[in-house]
Subunit: 199 residues, 2 copies
């Protein structure tokens, strides 16, 4: 005779984990937008009541910060090569990671602002700048400029993309890739010029 374990309270399937919740949140961003990412909708997507989510995360803000950290942990920061090229590559990788998930730049921005993010991306980028011989404050300045530029410009790009998706606005006529490339080049040039002055 086989023993039957006590059936879970939920009708079908296994219990959820925080990772399940984050995966469902990604799904909503991918197929809809940040505006559609409510706790209630997220719960529906998981086949669960809204308040069940509060078992996994204390509040929505914390859940979004965890999502942001997931995203940022996936950004590749090259370990070898010339330091200035590694800086450019880090920024480019951050941007393309963000562009792969709609509205994710906004999520990262909020997470950084709230202080609930545990990602140390800025410090990692600052370490690359340090390899160029920049003193700590300047290296941190470079990292700050690069990260904020990338996040800020990508927020605009993704927001426009959403608006065009909804047909509320026509194409912006802006070349975001060009804007990003130019602005990034200015910052990296600044870093090089500071490094040269140190020699």
């Amino acid at each position: 005779m086989s023993r039957t374990v006590a059936a879970p309270y939920r009708v079908s399937g296994v219990a959820h984990t925080p990772a399940d919740v984050l995966a469902a949140a990604r799904g909503i961003l991918a197929q809809h937008s940040l505006a559609d990412l409510s706790m209630r909708r997220l719960a529906t997507e998981l086949g669960v009541r809204p308040n069940a989510l509060y078992w996994h995360f204390p509040d929505k803000q914390t859940m979004l910060a965890a999502l942001a950290d997931d995203l940022l942990d996936a950004v590749q920061i090259p370990a070898d090569g010339a330091w200035d090229q590694r800086l450019t590559a880090a920024a480019t990788n951050l941007r393309s990671t963000l562009l792969s998930l709609p509205d994710s730049a906004e999520v990262v921005s909020s997470a950084w602002a709230s202080g609930l993010s545990h990602s140390d991306l800025t410090a990692t980028v600052a370490a690359v700048a340090s390899d160029g011989g920049l003193p700590p404050p300047a290296a941190h300045g470079v990292a700050t400029a690069i990260c904020r530029l990338t996040i800020g410009l990508t927020i605009e790009e993704q927001t426009r993309a959403q608006m065009e998706r909804l047909g509320v606005t026509g194409p912006s006529g802006r070349d975001f890739t060009e804007e990003f490339t130019q602005a990034l080049a200015v910052i990296v040039d600044g870093a090089r010029s500071l490094a040269a002055a140190r020699r």
Copy 2:
């Protein structure tokens, strides 16, 4: 005999204007926070029903964009002096304008992202960079880097300030002024190095 004009529908006072609404919105930001700036609360502050606001603005987003434009129009962009010092001054003025009203950096960021802002601050800053002899794409890159840095870092600073105001978090230990100064110096150095290469 004095003629009495037909009494307005509202009990006391004169009718409101869009400017009145924006002033009340500023008041809520100044004394509370962006989280408290709901259309319903704004209406209450004006002694009016929530839906009355939709006479003055089509929606909340548009109202916030108008508020952002008001703020940005007040930013002084110096017209004479060395171009690199004018760049630094423009960024510093933008930051101090934002810091004078809690959560205003977030408001500006959203307004830019939504495309509802009519401010041409980035173009104005780009014009200063052009005075340094930079070609248009590079000048625009400089302006983008400066504006996004300033907005992004000020969002973090103001969000931390709110959290400390609410006692939900202790002091961050970060020196935002120092971070801003260093990152700005990197960008302006980059601009100078690009200008020098043009000669």
